[in-house]
């Protein structure tokens, strides 16, 4: 990258500086640690210089935003042209309560919707299923039928705003609810936009809200790719996620490597079915974590873009839209503390800034009270304002990829790419992503990293402000979100009535058709939509698939 003679001159000067300035200084003023390392265990030097990145080539390795390898950004103008979508993940209790929260957030300036579902919904159970007891609406909204979806989006302009839904096992069915609701409102499905998370591989690895075994799950996912490409072209049929892998305790490099590995697995599966890469790749999207180490996170997002572009090119993708990686980011929930909760606002600000400087397309900022409960109105408003302040007041959006060219950032980006490829090799030697999951490879790596991290904290080698240093004796006094106690009962009654009032012969016929189709290899989306339109509940539809596909039992890794 640099002129050889110039590099020599600089090296000479650097050696002098080392000898005369740096070494002398540290003799009497030692550095605070013997070794500085980031959260992935990569050693960080005292100073990064031109020779650290001299081996890189600007045109080949950096390029320009909007062009391969997309390191500096996927659009030519990035946030100068359009700000990231401010999309706050939310949901709790019943559809009515969450509908209110969505209107509140949209009223305060959020620009995209994001649905959090409760555990029964995530596992494909209706509110009145025995396993749902005590879980209704606790960590997200309960959606058991098309009727609930209608209430959830009542008076919300879903033709104008996009919706992301964090749903995996039963994603195809919940997507069905959303599509059917739009159609019933006269909004054609080729105009609606949004995302379903629909990333089952990371469920096996980290989030654990899987239902069926890998093979039928992948089939369902490719069904959604196919259906989406044909009929719902503005929809992202998958959000390949690293967020949860990170939350489960992985390092940043692991988050990067495991997420991209999963992504490539989906691409291969779709191609195996005969889908053309340039047809489905443009609608693949990603979801990353924004954790504490500021520069590491920025390097991670940049490395992700470059690696993805390279790999898709290898697989034969030609359209630029197939090669560019679009991603949503959420600030790291696992870094929030219950102690001195207000200071979480500071943490979230730094994490959000990293995501923005890393070029995210969409962002969720956590609320300060989330180590204690779901966000209160005030807390979520502050979280939204955090994004708005960065956007309007900080100036960081005035130029594209402001940290590009930084010796440290480019070196670290390159290093993370290198370590990612090492993981790709390891997984390949194990036979690929799914065999590696069966062997517990990812789960073990994550559990080890999580344990190491906790030990560092317990031994005070890593300081968490307010927890193992700078602590106070306190009464926790942030207002905690309280939910409607009667919500569960109301929901159960609503379900009873729905099951009585619908056309039950039509409903049974549609379920039977779904069962037959699931046993074959047709695309299941049309059958699912038929069930949805006849008001089959989530639990009833899922049970059919459970019967045909079976349920997944995970290997025991700790």
């Amino acid at each position: 990258m640099f002129d050889k003679k110039e590099l020599e001159r600089i090296k000479q000067k650097k050696d002098e500086w080392d000898k005369n300035c740096y070494s002398k200084h540290v003799k009497t003023h030692p550095e605070r640690k013997d070794r500085f390392e980031n959260l992935s265990g990569i050693e960080i030097k005292n100073l990064y210089r031109p020779d650290d990145i001299a081996h890189l080539d600007y045109i080949k390795d950096f390029g320009f935003p909007g062009e391969y390898p997309f390191l500096r950004g996927i659009h030519p103008t990035m946030h100068r042209g359009r700000l990231w979508t401010m999309r706050q993940f939310s949901g709790f209790g019943s559809a009515e309560e969450t509908n209110q929260r969505y209107k509140y957030l949209l009223g305060h300036g959020e620009t995209g919707l994001s649905v959090a579902f409760d555990y029964p919904t995530l596992y494909g159970y209706d509110t009145d299923h025995p396993l749902s007891r005590g879980e209704f609406g606790k960590c997200g909204v309960a959606i058991s039928s098309l009727q609930d979806m209608e209430i959830l989006f009542s008076e919300i302009p879903i033709n104008n705003v996009t919706t992301s839904m964090t749903i995996n096992g039963p994603a195809a069915i919940v997507w069905g609810f959303y599509i059917a609701n739009a159609e019933n409102r006269g909004i054609s499905k080729d105009t609606i936009g949004g995302t379903i998370q629909n990333d089952i591989l990371k469920e096996y690895i980290a989030q654990k809200s899987f239902i069926f075994p890998p093979e039928p799950s992948m089939r369902l996912i490719v069904d959604t790719f196919e259906y989406g490409f044909k009929y719902v072209p503005r929809w992202n049929t998958i959000s390949i996620s690293g967020y949860h892998i990170r939350e489960a305790g992985s390092t940043a490099v692991q988050e990067l490597a495991f997420t991209l590995g999963d992504g490539l697995e989906y691409v291969k599966s779709a191609m195996e079915r005969g889908l053309l890469i340039d047809e489905f790749a443009p609608r693949l999207s990603f979801f990353f974590n924004a954790h504490n180490d500021f520069f590491e996170e920025i390097a991670k997002y940049r490395a992700a873009r470059r690696i993805w572009a390279k790999e898709l090119k290898k697989l034969g993708a030609k359209k630029p839209r197939s090669l560019l990686m679009r991603f949503h980011t959420q600030t790291a929930g696992c870094t929030l503390t219950a102690q001195q909760p207000e200071i979480n606002i500071t943490r979230v600000t730094l994490q959000a800034l990293a995501a923005i400087l890393g070029g995210t397309q969409s962002l969720h900022t956590n609320s300060m009270d989330e180590a204690l409960a779901l966000p209160s109105e005030k807390a979520v408003r502050i979280a939204l304002r955090t994004q708005q302040i960065i956007a309007e007041e900080s100036g960081v959006t005035d130029t594209v990829d402001p940290l590009g060219g930084s010796y440290y950032i480019e070196w670290l980006t390159d290093k993370m790419e290198e370590e990612t490829y090492e993981y790709f090799d390891k997984v390949e030697k194990l036979g690929g992503v799914i065999p590696a999951i069966e062997k517990g490879f990812f789960q073990r790596e994550i559990a080890e990293a999580a344990y190491r991290y906790q030990k560092q904290i317990d031994e005070n080698k890593r300081i968490i402000v307010g927890v193992n240093n700078y602590t106070i004796d306190e009464e926790i006094s942030v207002p905690i979100l309280k939910m409607d106690e009667k919500g569960e009962e109301r929901q159960i009654n609503r379900l009873k009535k729905l099951r009585k009032d619908r056309n039950n012969s039509k409903f049974e016929r549609n379920l039977e058709n779904l069962r037959k189709a699931a046993e074959g290899d047709e695309n299941l989306m049309p059958y699912i939509l038929d069930c949805v339109h006849s008001y089959a509940t989530l639990g009833e539809t899922c049970q059919v698939l459970r019967d045909v596909f079976g349920e997944y039992v995970e290997p025991a890794i700790y």
């Binding site: 062997k439 039992v553 025991a556 700790y558």
Partner: protein, 313 residues
């Protein structure tokens, strides 16, 4: 606690569990209870299951148990995992694979750490087998820590020993040829849907050919896919055939006799070691002898003579 033995014989889970704990901790109450329990044992078929890590032993046990339950038989399961030599603690996770059975009152599952014992078992396992047997279990499955050469103690306790392998072990079969590979009454190649299964079966078959020359029973080699419930019924068949074979050739009693011998040896060993190293009578003396050995004032053999001399006097 006087009627703990009586309650165990009635099959009360709480009492079974408590007595197992007492036995594990060498509590004299347990020794006393065993006097009532031992005469009531002998009915259960004890099946030892060993094999390399990752061979799916726990899932196999789960599927075997389900089949046995279909036949109306009661099952006791002892799942043994290694105790850390550094911390003395243990992560006992075999139960995860069997949690569906937790609420079946015809099944009793106990997780145990090896607690310093080598050989793949734990010192109290003899007691636990007897307790489960006397409590009315028809089948007792013992899942051992089976990693390689030395974890072969399972044959001391089991009527029928299963060695579980996985396809693709390849050279591993060669390296574990001695030890684990010698103790099987039945070989099971689990996860038989994995690639390399034909080769693994062939390798084991050839080992069996050689080992069973001039023997009156050829060790069967079975393929199973435990997570799909394939091959389980056939395995139970072979287990039953093995039991009949033992009875027919009168080896059954001889084998049981070896178990009681091993049990007696273990009880004596524990008591002796306890007496020497833990009881207050000798402890001080032992400590000072070890000090002298460290300072090279004494050699270990002379020290042993001294201690044993005092005991055997």
């Amino acid at each position: 606690m006087n009627d703990i033995a009586a309650n165990v014989l009635k099959g009360d889970p709480r009492s079974i569990a408590r007595l197992i704990t007492l036995a594990e901790n060498n509590d004299p109450i347990a020794a006393n209870a065993m006097k009532t329990i031992h005469p009531k044992t002998g009915n259960a078929h004890v099946i030892g299951i060993t094999g390399v890590m990752g061979s799916g032993k726990s899932t196999l046990i789960y599927e075997l148990t389900r089949e046995y339950r279909k036949k109306g038989l009661k099952v006791g399961i002892i799942a043994i995992d290694p105790t850390s030599p550094f911390s003395g603690g243990a992560l006992l996770g075999d139960r995860i694979r069997m949690m569906e059975l937790a609420t079946d009152d015809g099944v009793f599952i106990r997780s145990m750490g090896t607690r310093g014992m080598l050989g793949g078992l734990t010192s109290a396992v003899y007691d636990v087998v007897e307790i489960l047997d006397a409590s009315g279990k028809n089948i007792v499955l013992v899942e051992t820590v089976g990693v390689g050469q030395a974890e072969v103690d399972v044959i001391k306790i089991a009527d029928t020993t299963l060695v579980v392998l996985v396809p693709g072990l390849g050279d591993s079969i060669q390296t574990i040829k001695a030890g684990i590979m010698e103790i099987a009454d039945i070989y099971v190649v689990n996860k038989a849907d994995r690639s390399g299964v034909e080769q693994t079966l062939a390798e084991v078959e050839s080992l069996v050919e050689i080992a069973c020359i001039n023997k009156d029973r050829k060790i069967p080699v079975l393929a199973t896919i435990s997570k799909e419930n394939k091959g389980i019924v056939e395995l139970i068949d072979e287990i039953n055939k093995h039991r009949e074979h033992l009875k027919k050739t009168k080896t059954f009693e001889a084998q049981r006799r070896k178990r009681y011998e091993a049990e007696l040896v273990e009880i004596i060993r524990k008591r002796l070691m306890n007496f020497i190293f833990d009881e207050s009578t000798f402890k001080g003396k032992v400590e000072s002898l070890i000090d002298q050995i460290s300072k090279k004032e004494l050699d270990p053999y002379t020290a042993a003579d001294e201690i044993l001399g005092k005991i055997l006097k």
